[in-house]
């Protein structure tokens, strides 16, 4: 399972414009891949930890999110949490192929078996 997820995330970060991304499993294990030296795996893992920390803090009024996107001046971080607790976090630069494919990537992550 983990090898399959690692292969999946490796393939994802190959899209031009991706800085890096990873999957955090419910047991805390992180599978990550960097695609840009300015965003190494240690940083990716810290971002994933922040995203995981954020999920339980969502106000009760907001239904469980399908996806959340943190938008910055030069790019965005997409976070998707599956019903089984697996969390995807991926950082992409604005106006790139990777940014345009974020919704597609979200659907693919939710459909992973």
């Amino acid at each position: 399972m983990n090898e399959m997820l690692q292969a999946w995330i490796d393939a994802c970060v190959g899209t031009p414009g991706t800085l890096g991304g990873g999957i955090r499993l419910p047991d805390g294990l992180v599978l990550s891949r960097s695609a840009d030296e300015s965003f190494p795996t240690e940083r990716i893992e810290r971002v994933l930890a922040h995203l995981a920390e954020f999920q339980p803090q969502l106000p009760a009024a907001i239904p469980a999110p399908l996806a959340s996107t943190w938008l910055f001046e030069q790019g965005r971080i997409r976070c998707v949490v599956r019903p089984d607790g697996c969390l995807l976090g991926i950082a992409v630069r604005s106006e790139t192929e990777a940014a345009a494919k974020l919704d597609q990537l979200t659907d693919a992550f939710l459909a992973l078996e």
Partner: protein, 326 residues
């Protein structure tokens, strides 16, 4: 500048306290005194009482525009009329504000002045209000609960936005009207705009809080840019047949004071959450080389929520969507 020394002293004390002494406030009881201060000090913004003896506010604005073209000028008046407002804006005022009569009104004026000090011109647009951009002007007009018509033009097209007592009520651009016209107007890459006296539009096509409308326009603009089809996109593209309804709105100061809320069940908790979003965004910005944080968008259930952090404001808006049968 005001000839009412008591009003001047009260405002100066309050604004100094609210700015946490970041503002240096100079007081002048006449045009001569004000010009003297301007000669000796570097002033960012001047607030002028419209009804001064000897030299009235509009005449004084013209003097200021000539002698200090970079100075941001705000006109404060006890009795706001559309004629006076047009005259002040045409004479170089960036803002025209009615004198507040309550503590909340004073806070709104403080917030407007605070924003005005940090505003810079946006690329691509020039207008009667020289130092601020189109979106900023809309924000100022809405915050000031003003009524006006904004006419926006570029070589290809001309559109209009109608603001009545601080609410965006109508937009028109070619064959488009309502939110689609507003979004298209705000996505124009350049052009000019001018502020006209308010006149009733033929119909009301826009409802909902202006904060949400501007954020929604920003989202649509981002998504259009993302698709690389800002100009080529069909005006009808987007979500035909889908109606969005705002179900919660909250605006707070950076310090956590609730400035506006609508249908938020536990406003202090939501403000705390927004402050948490800001802190988390800062932590992530330190890790990922993506620049400063703009906003968080959450897609949830049949709607979405947006949390936006500004220099002095936190904004939260949640909507639900409903597909309309044709």
């Amino acid at each position: 500048m005001d000839d009412d020394a008591v009003f001047l002293g009260t405002i100066a004390d309050l604004f100094a306290a609210w700015s946490q002494d970041k503002w240096r406030i100079h007081q002048a009881g006449s045009a001569d005194q004000a010009l003297d201060v301007l000669k000796k000090e570097k002033i960012d913004v001047i607030v002028v009482d419209a009804n001064m003896p000897v030299l009235d506010g509009v005449q004084f604005l013209k003097v200021l525009s000539r002698r200090h073209p970079e100075l941001k000028k705000v006109m404060l008046t006890g009795l706001a009329t559309e004629e006076k407002r047009s005259a002040c804006l045409a004479s170089g005022a960036e803002l025209f504000i009615e004198k507040p009569r309550s503590s909340d009104g004073l806070k709104a004026v403080f917030a407007m002045l605070d924003e005005l000090m940090t505003w810079k011109p946006r690329e691509g647009f020039q207008g009667m209000l020289r130092k601020v951009g189109l979106q900023d002007v809309i924000q100022m007009e809405c915050l000031g609960r003003n009524s006006c018509v904004l006419e926006i033009s570029n070589p290809q097209t001309t559109g209009r936005l109608y603001i009545e007592e601080g609410s965006l009520i109508h937009a028109i651009l070619g064959n488009l009207s309502g939110e689609k016209a507003l979004q298209k107007l705000l996505s124009l890459a350049g052009g000019s705009f001018q502020l006209l006296p308010f006149e009733s539009p033929p119909q009301r096509t826009i409802n909902g809080p202006w904060e949400f409308l501007l954020m929604e326009a920003a989202r649509v603009r981002d998504e259009s840019a993302q698709a690389g089809a800002q100009e080529e996109t069909s005006p009808e593209a987007g979500a035909p047949g889908v109606q969005s309804t705002v179900v919660e709105t909250l605006v707070s100061s950076e310090q956590g004071e609730v400035l506006y809320e609508w249908q938020i069940q536990n406003a202090p908790a939501r403000v705390a959450w927004l402050q948490g979003v800001t802190q988390l965004a800062a932590a992530m910005a330190a890790e990922a080389p993506l620049g400063g944080f703009d906003r968080l968008e959450i897609k949830a259930g049949n709607g979405r929520a947006v949390a936006q952090t500004r220099a002095d404001r936190l904004v939260f808006v949640r909507t639900t969507s409903q597909t309309l049968s044709s």
